[in-house]
């Protein structure tokens, strides 16, 4: 419902500049994910958008209106915190109603909105309970419900799944995706360090590193056309294999990157030989860790459940057209 325009946003804590000139447009109704390693400034950027931190320099506007100095509650945002941040002494109902109560909405209006949100998230049976009587997943649903009740123009999520166990994380991820579809047009910004969450949820991903944007694009763009060595290494699981020196020279690059699924096992033209270090069988496919005489093992994905023994000799070759080439500065030179 709102388009966000970040123009050369900067944030310093004392002498340390943690956000160093971020310009970004987040389209109305878009699901934007900020992703990056810890300390890259992604959470700070979200808090600047929320208004929980003051912007040192640059402008932030919602639908063309500059909101730099607007209080968080006046910006039309709602935030879901990593630690849920529910009010421990209030019931689920009061937790969700608190914002509207402060805004002096009528009791009936509050009741209607809370019940609608509770229904959407299937937490109606828990409305009378206290947060401590709920499980982690239920608490996070209440926190999301509290955000929905505020009827915000922009939803902000700060690593909302980090405290959940693996199974719940997948289930809640799905719910957030469903929520985005059902809340037609609500803009969502989601911070995570987990690139799988980023890939599965995002319309567009913004990769941050040391307070600057490395690349913004759809998950597929980031995966297939990384604009830097950093993005290439950060997006995708397992990590992209990087090779330098004699492996890269034939491609006219300083570093080449090949994803594990773009390597074939078996001798052939341009094949490299090495030996197997370890092999992981995941059922549908398996990952072979091969020592090519480089520092890190090269990871190769193979269909099926064929098992390679350690120390077994192996020949691998990259698929044509799937080799990402980078110069010595980490800039892309295109695929070959």
């Amino acid at each position: 419902m709102a388009e966000l325009q970040l123009t050369d946003i900067r944030k310093s804590f004392g002498a340390v500049e943690v956000i160093r000139g971020v310009s970004l447009t987040i389209r109305s109704g878009e699901f934007m994910v900020f992703v990056g390693p810890s300390g890259c400034g992604k959470s700070t950027l979200l808090r600047l958008v929320a208004g929980l931190e003051a912007i040192s320099d640059g402008t932030l506007s919602f639908d063309g209106q500059i909101v730099n100095n607007l209080a968080p509650s006046k910006r039309g945002i709602a935030m879901v915190f990593q630690s849920y941040a529910l009010y421990p002494h209030m019931t689920v109902y009061d937790n969700m109603a608190f914002g509207m109560q402060l805004a002096k909405s009528s009791k009936d209006a509050i009741k209607e909105r809370v019940e609608k949100a509770a229904d959407l998230l299937q937490i109606t049976p828990y409305l009378k309970r206290l947060p401590k009587q709920l499980s982690g997943g239920q608490r996070q649903r209440v926190a999301i419900g509290r955000a929905i009740v505020r009827d915000p123009k922009v939803f902000l999520f700060d690593e909302p799944l980090s405290n959940l166990d693996a199974a719940l994380r997948v289930a809640t991820r799905l719910e957030i995706a469903k929520l985005h579809h059902s809340m037609n047009g609500a803009t969502m910004i989601y911070v995570t360090h987990d690139q799988v969450e980023a890939m599965t949820l995002a319309d567009r991903i913004c990769v941050l590193r040391d307070g600057v944007i490395e690349q913004v694009g759809t998950p597929v763009e980031l995966y297939e056309q990384p604009q830097s060595l950093f993005v290439a290494g950060f997006i995708g699981s397992p990590k992209m294999n990087f090779l330098t020196g004699k492996f890269a020279e034939p491609y006219g690059a300083s570093t080449i990157g090949i994803r594990s699924e773009h390597i074939q096992i078996g001798p052939g033209e341009g094949a490299w030989s090495g030996k197997v270090i370890h092999s992981e069988n995941l059922g549908s496919d398996s990952y072979v860790y091969a020592d090519m005489g480089t520092g890190e093992p090269v990871i190769v994905r193979e269909d099926g459940t064929k098992k390679h023994q350690p120390d077994e000799a192996i020949s691998i070759r990259p698929q044509r057209g799937q080799v990402h080439r980078f110069d010595s500065e980490g800039r892309p030179l295109g695929r070959q």
């Binding site: 929980l52 006046k74 849920y84 529910l86 009010y87 608190f98 914002g99 947060p131 401590k132 009587q133």
Partner: protein
Amino acid sequence: MSAVGGNSGYVAPFDLWRLVKNAAFFVLVVVIVVVMVFPFYYAILTSFKSGTNLFIVTYWPTELNLANYLNVFASASFLQNLWNSIFVATITVLLSLLLSVTASYALSRVNFRGRGLLLMTILAVSMFPQIAVLAGLFELIRFYNLFNTPWALIFSYTIFSLPFTVWVLTTFMRDLPIEIEEAAIVDGASPIIIIWRVFMPLLWPALVTTGLLAFIAAWNEYLFALTFSSSNAARTVPVAISLFSGNSEHEIPWGTIMAASVLVTAPLVLLVLIFQRKIISGLTAGGVKG
């Protein structure tokens, strides 16, 4: 207790070592309890005696004479003194809690220059002995025309209880998750609303504890109460008790003093018993993480 020193699985029918250890433990407990409780127990015993019986040492109740208690209430100003004590202690607690909650919010959550120094200064204030500030405080109280009124005591007790309450509440408030406050900010709560509707309910255990200690300190205080009042009508109970006089100049009315002491201690014991149930630990459980 049976698990103390026990070998798992095998239990001897008669384990002398364990018996000795248990016995030693209980002897220690009894010694501690006797040393701590005996003076008060003896005061209760004495308060029920009369006449020359007062000076015969007994360790068990021998008579139940209520004459001393009737004496206390017969004394013209005791009820007034009791009311003074209640009024002074209650207002002191309310005032220090109000001031310290708002102060500790600032000290724990607002970043400003000199915050650490201010906290240290507050702590340092509480280290001065009362006698050191007595003269200065007396001048202040005269200056504000508070001498011989309950407000003189409320003023001076609040000064002395604030460092402690501020310090304790600041520590508690610092431990409250910052995300809860931020969630409230996003919900549109002002600092006052955050303090009243979000922090106060979470701080209940700390408020009750510090409030109770401030109450006890104000209730039992003697030096200021003696110095800042001149008429019997303005005195609090501890001073009034010390000024009880017997039939002659040379007689100290021990029985009446003990009865009055029991009367003023009983409410405190009652308060502690009531409020200890309210001190619920782990009230914040469930708000954040799991």
